[in-house]
C-alpha cells in the first residue's frame, strides 16, 4: 500500500512545497479520476490500465485551469486552505450526485489485475499495489532528477524560494507554476487509476484519506518527492502491520502517533535535505 499512499501524496506535497498552495481539492481529484476510470471501463469495456492515457492529460488540464484561477484570485498559502476546502466540498457533492453514495467496484471480468498477486520472499504482493509502487518510484525519482539536473527544475526551485526574484531573473514564474500544478494533478489522477483498479469506491473515501496523506506529506518534507516516497512506504507498512495486529480501524491511530512523534523530534521532515524550497 505504501506506493499508492506515496503516489497520492506526491501531488499535494509538490503543490504545497513549490506553489505554497495546500490543495485539499487534490483528494477529490484522486477520487474523481478513480470514478472516471470506473465509468469509462464499465461503459466501454476497455482495459482500466489504458485509462491512464485518458485521465492523465485530462487532469493535467484541470490542474492548469485551477492554478490559473488561483493566480487570478491571488490566493496565498492561508487562503488556499479555505478556497480549496470549498472546492473539495463542491467536488464531493458533485460526485455524490452523479455516482450516489453506493459502493462501486470494477467487476472481475473487466479488471484482470485485481486478483493477480506475486510472492517475493514469502510475502504476497497484489499486482495493482506493486504497479502503483513502481509508478510512484518512477515519478519520485523522475521529479528528483528533474529538480536537481534540469533547467526547468532550477526554475521551479527559484520560483519556490522567491517568485518575485525569479521573475526578475527572467523566469516566467506563472508558467512554471501552471505546469507544476498540472503535473501534480496528473499524479493525483494516476493514483486515482490505481484506486479504481484495486479498491472499492465511495464518496466518503476522500475524507478518509486525509488522516493518511497529511502525515506522509509532513513526514516526507514539503515538495520533497523522494522523502514523500520513503514516508509513504513507512506509513503504509505501519498501517498494514497495525491492521493485521489490531484490525483495520486502528490504522489512523498508528499513523497519527507516528506523525506526532515525528513532529516532536524532526519537525523539518524525515529527510532534511529538501529537493525544492
Amino acid at each position: 500500500m505504501g506506493g499508492l499512499y506515496a503516489l497520492m501524496s506526491i501531488g499535494i506535497s509538490l503543490s504545497w512545497g513549490a506553489l505554497k498552495i495546500i490543495n485539499l481539492a487534490h483528494f477529490s481529484f484522486i477520487l474523481l479520476s478513480a470514478y472516471i476510470v470506473y465509468q469509462l471501463t464499465v461503459s466501454f469495456e476497455v482495459d482500466p490500465l489504458l485509462m491512464v492515457l485518458v485521465v492523465a492529460p485530462l487532469f493535467f488540464m484541470l490542474g492548469v485551469l485551477v492554478q490559473m484561477f488561483f493566480h487570478l484570485a491571488k490566493v496565498d498559502e492561508f487562503k488556499s486552505l479555505i478556497v480549496t476546502f470549498g472546492l473539495f466540498i463542491i467536488f464531493q457533492s458533485v460526485m455524490q450526485t452523479i455516482w450516489s453514495a453506493d459502493f462501486r467496484r470494477i467487476g472481475p471480468v473487466l479488471n484482470p489485475y485485481e486478483t493477480q498477486s506475486f510472492f517475493v520472499a514469502g510475502i504476497a504482493f497484489q499486482l495493482p499495489q506493486l504497479v502503483a509502487f513502481v509508478v510512484a518510484l518512477l515519478i519520485a525519482g523522475g521529479m528528483w532528477l528533474t529538480f536537481t539536473r534540469t533547467y526547468f527544475g532550477k526554475a521551479v526551485r527559484a520560483v519556490a524560494q522567491d517568485p518575485e526574484m525569479a521573475r526578475a531573473f527572467g523566469i516566467d514564474s506563472r508558467r512554471v507554476a501552471v505546469i507544476l500544478s498540472g503535473l501534480s494533478t496528473a499524479f493525483s489522477a494516476l493514483a486515482g487509476v490505481f484506486i479504481a483498479i484495486g479498491q472499492t469506491m465511495f464518496p466518503q473515501l476522500a475524507v478518509a484519506w486525509f488522516g493518511i496523506v497529511f502525515p506522509i506529506v509532513i513526514l516526507g518534507g514539503l515538495g520533497n518527492s523522494l522523502g514523500t516516497l520513503t514516508a509513504g512506504v513507512i506509513i503504509g507498512v505501519a498501517a498494514g502491520v497495525s491492521s493485521v495486529l489490531w484490525g483495520p480501524l486502528s490504522a489512523p491511530l498508528v499513523t497519527f502517533t507516528i506523525l506526532i512523534v515525528a513532529l516532536l523530534f524532526r519537525p523539518e521532515g524525515l529527510i532534511t535535505k529538501r529537493s525544492i524550497a
Binding site: I22, F85, I89, Q92, V94, V207, F210, G247, S250, L263
Partner: protein
C-alpha cells in the same frame, strides 16, 4: 456606564427574552417549529464563536472543531447512557475532556517553534479521524454500535424536555458569546491579535505567545465540548459517522468567514445567516444542492470579502438597514410565503449581496450621489484588519 457594562446588560436582556420565549409560545401563538429553529441557530452561534476565539483572534487555522464537539457528544453519551450519571454532572466533564483534548493538541503543536500555522491546521484535521477510530475501536465508548440517547432526565426547574434543552443551549451559547466578547477587549485578546499580525514581533514585544495560544485553544475546545454535550440531547442516536465528520468544521469556517473573523460579532452574524439559509434550502427540498451552494459560497466569500460582512455592515450601515428592513417589509407586504423565516432569509440574502460589492465600486457609487465616500475608512479600534505582510 462603561461600554462593557452596557454590553453585559444587553446580553442579560437577550438571555431573559429568549429564555422565556417558550412560556410565551402559547399566548403569542407562534409555531413550535420556531423554537427548534432557534435551538439549531444557538448551537451554530456557539460553535462558530468558540472556533473564532482561536482562529479568528490568533490566526491559527483550526479544523479541530468537529473533534472537540465530538468529545463533548460522546462524553455525555457514555456517562449518561452507559454509566448512569445525571446529565448535569456529565456536562461539565464533557467540557473538561474536550478542553484537555485541545490542550494536549496545543502542547504537541505549539511547543515546536518551527511549525507553521498550516501544519497546525492539518494536525487538527487529522485529530478528528483519530478520535473517530478510537471511538469505533473501544466498546466502552461506541464500539461501532452507536448510542441511543432517548429520555435523558433533565432538571425539572428548566421546564419539560424540549424547553429545558432549549434553555441549556441558550445558556451555553450566551456563555460562549460573552467569553468571546470579553476576550476581544482584553489583554489576552490584544495579545492574540498581535500573534495573528506578526508572531515573532509579538513575542519580541513581550507577549507570552505560547500561554496565550494555549488559553485560546483551551477555551475553544472547552466551549465546543460543552455545546456538543448539550447537543447530544437532541441527537437521539449517536454514531461515529454522524459525529466525527467534516460538517461541523465546514460550517463554522463558512459562518466565520462570512461574518468576519476579526470581531466577536462576525461569527454570530454568519451563524444566523447560514442557519436561516440552510433551513430554507432544506425545507425547499434542495438538500442535494445545499452542499454545492455552501462550498461555492466559501470560495466566493474567502476571495471577495476578506474582512467579512460584519465590518462592511458597520461601514455601510445605512445600506444595511435599508436593504434588510426594506426587503423584509416588502416580503411581508407581498405575502410571498406564510413563513416568517423565509422573509428573513430574503432580507439576509439581499443584505449580503449588497455587502459583496467591492469597496472600489462602492466608492464610485458614493460619488454618483454627490458625496465622497472614503473606501477604507477605519471604524475605530475594532476594525483590526491584518497589518502584517
Amino acid at each position: 456606564m462603561s461600554a462593557r457594562v452596557r454590553a453585559l446588560v444587553g446580553f442579560a436582556a437577550v438571555a431573559l427574552i429568549l429564555g422565556f420565549a417558550p412560556n410565551m409560545q402559547e399566548s403569542l401563538e407562534f409555531p413550535r417549529f420556531y423554537l427548534i429553529f432557534l435551538f439549531t441557530m444557538f448551537f451554530w452561534i456557539a460553535q462558530a464563536s468558540s472556533w473564532n476565539i482561536l482562529t479568528g483572534y490568533s490566526g491559527y487555522f483550526s479544523f479541530g472543531q468537529g473533534a472537540f464537539y465530538g468529545v463533548g457528544v460522546y462524553t455525555v453519551g457514555v456517562l449518561v447512557v452507559k454509566q448512569g450519571w445525571s446529565f448535569m454532572t456529565a456536562l461539565p466533564v464533557a467540557g473538561l475532556l474536550a478542553g484537555l483534548t485541545g490542550l494536549f493538541l496545543g502542547l504537541v503543536v505549539f511547543r515546536v517553534r518551527r511549525l507553521t500555522g498550516e501544519i497546525f491546521a492539518l494536525t487538527t484535521l487529522a485529530i478528528a479521524f483519530v478520535l473517530a477510530s478510537v471511538a469505533r475501536l473501544s466498546p466502552s465508548i461506541d464500539g461501532g454500535t452507536g448510542i441511543f440517547m432517548t429520555g435523558t432526565p433533565l432538571p425539572g426547574f428548566l421546564g419539560e424536555f424540549t424547553t429545558a434543552a432549549y434553555r441549556l443551549t441558550l445558556a451555553i451559547t450566551l456563555i460562549t458569546v460573552v467569553v468571546a466578547y470579553l476576550i476581544h477587549d482584553s489583554r489576552l485578546g490584544w495579545g492574540l491579535f498581535a500573534i495573528r499580525d506578526d508572531e515573532p514581533v509579538a513575542e519580541g514585544l513581550g507577549v507570552p505567545t505560547f500561554r496565550y495560544k494555549m488559553v485560546a485553544l483551551g477555551a475553544n475546545a472547552l466551549l465546543a465540548g460543552l455545546m456538543g454535550g448539550v447537543w447530544a440531547l437532541q441527537l437521539g442516536f449517536v454514531t461515529v459517522d454522524d459525529v466525527f465528520n467534516i460538517r461541523v468544521p465546514l460550517f463554522v469556517i463558512l459562518m466565520s468567514v462570512l461574518g468576519g473573523m476579526q470581531h466577536w460579532m462576525g461569527p454570530v452574524i454568519g451563524a444566523v445567516i447560514i442557519t436561516t439559509l440552510t433551513d430554507r434550502l432544506n425545507s425547499a427540498g434542495l438538500t442535494d444542492v445545499n452542499q454545492i451552494i455552501i462550498g461555492g459560497m466559501l470560495v466566493v466569500l474567502a476571495l471577495a470579502v476578506r474582512e467579512g460582512v460584519y465590518v462592511r455592515m458597520r461601514r455601510r450601515w445605512v445600506t444595511t438597514a435599508v436593504s434588510f428592513f426594506g426587503v423584509l417589509g416588502l416580503a411581508r407586504l407581498l405575502d410571498l410565503n406564510d413563513s416568517l423565516i423565509s422573509d428573513f432569509a430574503y432580507a439576509m440574502v439581499a443584505t449580503v449581496v449588497m455587502m459583496l460589492v467591492p469597496d472600489r465600486v462602492w466608492a464610485r457609487f458614493g460619488e454618483l450621489f454627490g458625496r465622497s465616500h472614503p473606501a477604507e475608512e477605519p471604524i475605530g479600534a475594532e476594525d483590526l484588519t491584518r497589518t502584517g505582510p
